[in-house]
Every structure is written in C-alpha cells, then in structure tokens.
Amino acid sequence: MKTADLELLLEQKESFTEVKRNWRTIIMLIGLTVISVFFLYPFILVLINSLKTYGELLTDVFSLPTKAEWRNYPHAWELMDYPRAFLNTLYVTVVGIVGIIFLSSLAGYKLARTKTRFSNFLFMLCIAPMLTPFHTIMIALTKVSRELYLIDSLTGLIVIYWGLGAPMAIFLYHGFVKSVPAELDEAAVMDGCTSFQVYSKIIFPLLKPITTTIVVLDVLWIWNDFLLPLLMVNGRQSTKTLQLRAYQFFGQYVSEWQYVMAAIVMSIVPVVIFFLSMQKHIIKGIVSGAVKG
C-alpha cells in the first residue's frame, strides 16, 4: 500500500470516529434534556397551578391558566402571615450563622494553634456531637431548653443553633487554620497585637474561603430546618418560621391547592434567589464541606 492510500484510510477512519462522537453527543444531550424535564417540571406545575382558580385547577392540572389568577398570592400571603414568618426565619438564620461563625472560628483557630494534649482533648469534646443524630438528643434538648427558658423564643432558638452548629464549623476551621502559616501570628505579636487582635485582624480575614463554605451549608440547613423550630417555637403564632407556617398552611388548606401552590412558590423564592445569585460559592461550599466533613 502506498503512503498516500494509507493517509487516506487514516483520514477516513478519523472522520468516521468523529461522526460517531457527534452522534453520541447528540444522544447524550437528548437524554439529559429528558431527565431535566423530570427535575424542572414539578416546579413548573407548581408555578402554573398557583395562578389558576379552584375550578380550573380541578379540571386541568397541566394546561396553562386561561387567565392568571394573581389574587391567590395576596390571599396566601395574608393567610400564612408571610412577612412575619419571613422575617422570623431571616432573623434566626442571620444571627444564628453570625454566632456560629464567630464562636467557631475563635475556638477552631486557637485549638489548631495549641498543640498540647489538653487542647486535643478540648477539640475532641467540641467535635464529638458530629456523631450524634439530632433525633437522639431532641427529647432531652427540649427539656434543657425549657429549663433555660429558651423555648418559645426566636432568640432562644438562635442560641440552640449556635450550640448545634458549632461542632461542624469548629472541625472545618480547625482543618483550615493548619494551612495558615503560624509565622503570621508571631510577626503580629512582635508588632504588638494582642492575641484577640491577631485573630480578628490577621487570621479571620484569611479564613474567608472556609467561612464561605460554612455560611452556605448553614444557610441551607437553618433556613430549611423544620424539626427543631417545630419543637422550640411552634407554640405561638408570632414566633413561627417559614417552614412551620408553610406546614401549618398546607394542613389547613389541603384541598385548596391553588393557595397551597402560591404558598409553595413564596416559600421557595427566597432560597432560589440565594442559590442563583451565589451558585458558584454554594456548589463549591457544599462539595468541599462534604469532602472535609
């Protein structure tokens, strides 16, 4: 066989594999699109049915509403006392996370910098609760919270979140601080910083990547948490969080799906906005949190 023939043959083979590759890509894209429909369609159904009248929803679930019934929204807004529930949840999430970050970075930093048997023991004591499922401690925790007057109060709930969120956060901070050179601390002390200033001015800003991870994990945890608020702040209407309100609302209006759908949309929107605006951080945070935790 001549070289030219061989080259031609090779070329043909190459173009053949390319066609094959293109076909595979197309089939994959079609497959992925079909799966995507399964993931998106439930949300689309919720959205379109939140804009229907009761009669229309009963006759046809899948069609678009003939005329958008916007009134479902103010109705559900009022019935579930949305603004209050939203602000309650926001308050608990924000102050809860600020506390977890502050207390845990302080502890995680010092524990990683002190290498004694005593500090090792303290570290173990701090992270041991990561092994305990919440359901094991919930009954006694409710008892403790009653004794300490933390029950039926949003601030009480926040303090409980500080205690429950700290082990994981300390664990992550402890691991991260090891990658920050200790010479920085020494240099800052030479320059006259107190050890709290070393932490607040030098170290804490350097911990930003892991702080982002912890914030992301804890926002999704606290914002969506149901059982702890159910045990602690469900007693009064004024202290209910969004999840509790939504649950109560669904139970009361279970057959009036158009209001339930509107309530679901309003409950989802804040967290979806958070997700879409911080998407990169969230995915990175969740993955690195899982890998290290």
């Binding site: 919930m138 300490l148 205690g163 700290a166």
Partner: protein, 293 residues
C-alpha cells in the same frame, strides 16, 4: 518561665474555646447523657418527674411491633435510596464531566431540588401524586396513574424512595464530579491506549480512583436517609397505617405526641447505636478499597 508560658497559653486557650464549648455541652452533650438516663425511667411529660424503672423500656422496645416495623421500613427505604441515588448520581457525573455544551446548565437543574426544604418538597410531590396523577389517568387511562401512590401501603414507601432520590441525586452528582476531576488526564489516556474501554475502564480505573468520593457519597446518603423525618412527615405522615413510619418519626410520636418520653428516649438511644454501627461498618468496608495513585 516555661511553666508560666504554659499556664498563660492554657488560660488563653480556655478563653477562646469556652464560649463555643459551653454551648456545645449544653445543647448536645448534656442532652445526650440525659437521654441515656431518661431511657431507664418512666417519664410521662416534659414537666413531670421521671421514675427509674431499669431496663424495662428497652425490653418493651425490642418487642414493640411499631418500633420493629419502623426499623424495617427505614432500612428498606434507605437501602433503595442509597443504591439508586449513587448509581444515578455517578452516571450523571460521568456524562457531565465530559466537555459538553450546556453542562453547567444541566448541573444546576439537577442540583436545584437540593436547596429546597423537604417539607416543601413533600407537599409538591403530594400534589403531583394526587392531582397530577389523577389528571394523567383521565387522559391516558394507564393504570399506573390510577394507583394510589401515597395511600396504598404497598406503594407509599416506593413513592418516598423516588422523591428522596429525586431530591438528593444532584448533590451526590456534584461530589462525584469533583472526584472525577482529580483523576489525572494521562491515566485515562494510557488506559485508553492499553485498550480499556467502557465498563472495563469504569470498574478497573475510574471507580478505584474516585473511591474517596464513593465513600463520602455512600456515607452521606446512608446517614441522611436513616434519619429521614421531614419528607415522611410532610408527604405521608407515616401512613397509610404505620407503613411509612421511620424510626425518627416513631421516636417523635412516642414522646411528643403520645407522651411516653421515657420510652421515646430508649428508642432514641437505640437509634444512636444503630446509626453509629451502620456508618462505621460502611466507612470501614469502603475505606479499605481506597487506593493511592
């Protein structure tokens, strides 16, 4: 001099760690120990005094059909969710790890359900399984849509498995993708040169190399699903009958709804031991298979 520094260091360590540690002890470790104490008592209300009765709660638990049934359901459900979620997540990750147009869009779509609370997810699917399937049945007349997916005790647990997989598959996919990205390009290339393709490449090269991700994903799906609460609470309420009552829902019922707090704490203690044993065994088996490059 040295001693003085050591004391000074310990003093500082305590100052930095104490705030977090006190909260951790109060909210987690104290309730954990109290739980074991209460499990040996008859205790009928948060405000009442527990009376010591020895091991009786444990003896009753081990013969209690409700508890045993919840154990059976939880394991059946967990095994199915763990298997399905991991297979699907790995498949999606393998496809979406390739240079593909729109891959970021697909990743976002699959990840979406994960940021929404399971109470809300439960209600969305309750709507689909009831109203949505009714509508599909009247259009298509397919018996599969005519079945009562949440009301039939043979089907309800399968519905929960499907929803749980739908919700968690995107998260695990992200962890698998992160794992796949750590495989050096030249390893895959030399594998291809040696003639490894398709499944052979997957089982002999890819999987062993991403074993740390596999370990994490199995651990997370196992631990999360053994603790399932919100999803059951919102979509089936544990029914029909007690067919979908998980261990955690059963503990909640026995204590907070039936007022048998002492009995509930005994189940909570057993729950802790079960989760600890299962996850330790899993980690042990999977860690052994991890290889270093």
């Amino acid at each position: 001099m040295k001693r003085k520094i050591a004391i000074h260091n310990n003093y500082q360590l305590i100052l930095f760690v104490l705030p977090a540690l006190l909260l951790i002890i109060t909210m987690s470790e104290l309730p954990f120990l109290m739980n074991f104490f209460y499990s040996f008592t008859k205790w009928s209300g948060l405000a009442k005094t527990p009376v010591l009765i020895g091991l009786e709660n444990y003896f009753i638990t081990l013969k209690d059909p409700n508890f045993l049934h919840s154990l059976l359901f939880t394991f059946k459900y967990t095994i199915c969710v763990v298997a399905l979620t991991n297979v699907l997540a790995l498949a999606l990750a393998l496809v979406l790890d390739k240079p593909l147009k729109l891959k970021n869009l697909f990743r976002t779509i699959f990840f979406m359900p994960n940021i929404i609370g399971l109470i809300i997810i439960g209600f969305i699917w309750r709507f689909i399984f009831t109203r949505g399937f009714d509508a599909l049945y009247s259009v298509t007349n397919l018996p599969i849509f005519g079945w009562s997916w949440l009301g039939d005790y043979k089907l309800a647990w399968i519905s929960l498995v499907l929803v749980a997989v739908w919700q968690s598959v995107g998260y695990m996919m992200m962890i698998y993708i992160a794992g796949l990205q750590t495989i050096p390009q030249d390893v895959m290339e030399s594998a291809a040169l040696e003639g490894a393709t398709g499944l052979r490449k997957l089982f002999s090269i890819t999987l062993p190399l991403i074993m740390p991700s596999v370990t994490i994903c199995f651990f997370l799906t196992l631990a999360n699903n053994l603790k399932v609460f919100d999803l059951v609470y919102a979509s089936t309420g544990g029914g029909p009958g007690t067919s979908t009552t998980s261990i955690s829902v059963n503990i909640y019922r026995e204590s907070f709804q039936a007022g048998r707090y002492g009995y509930g704490t005994a189940q909570a203690a057993l729950f802790f031991l079960i989760i600890l044993a299962v996850t330790l065994i899993q980690l042990r088996i999977f860690k052994r298979r991890e290889v270093e490059l």
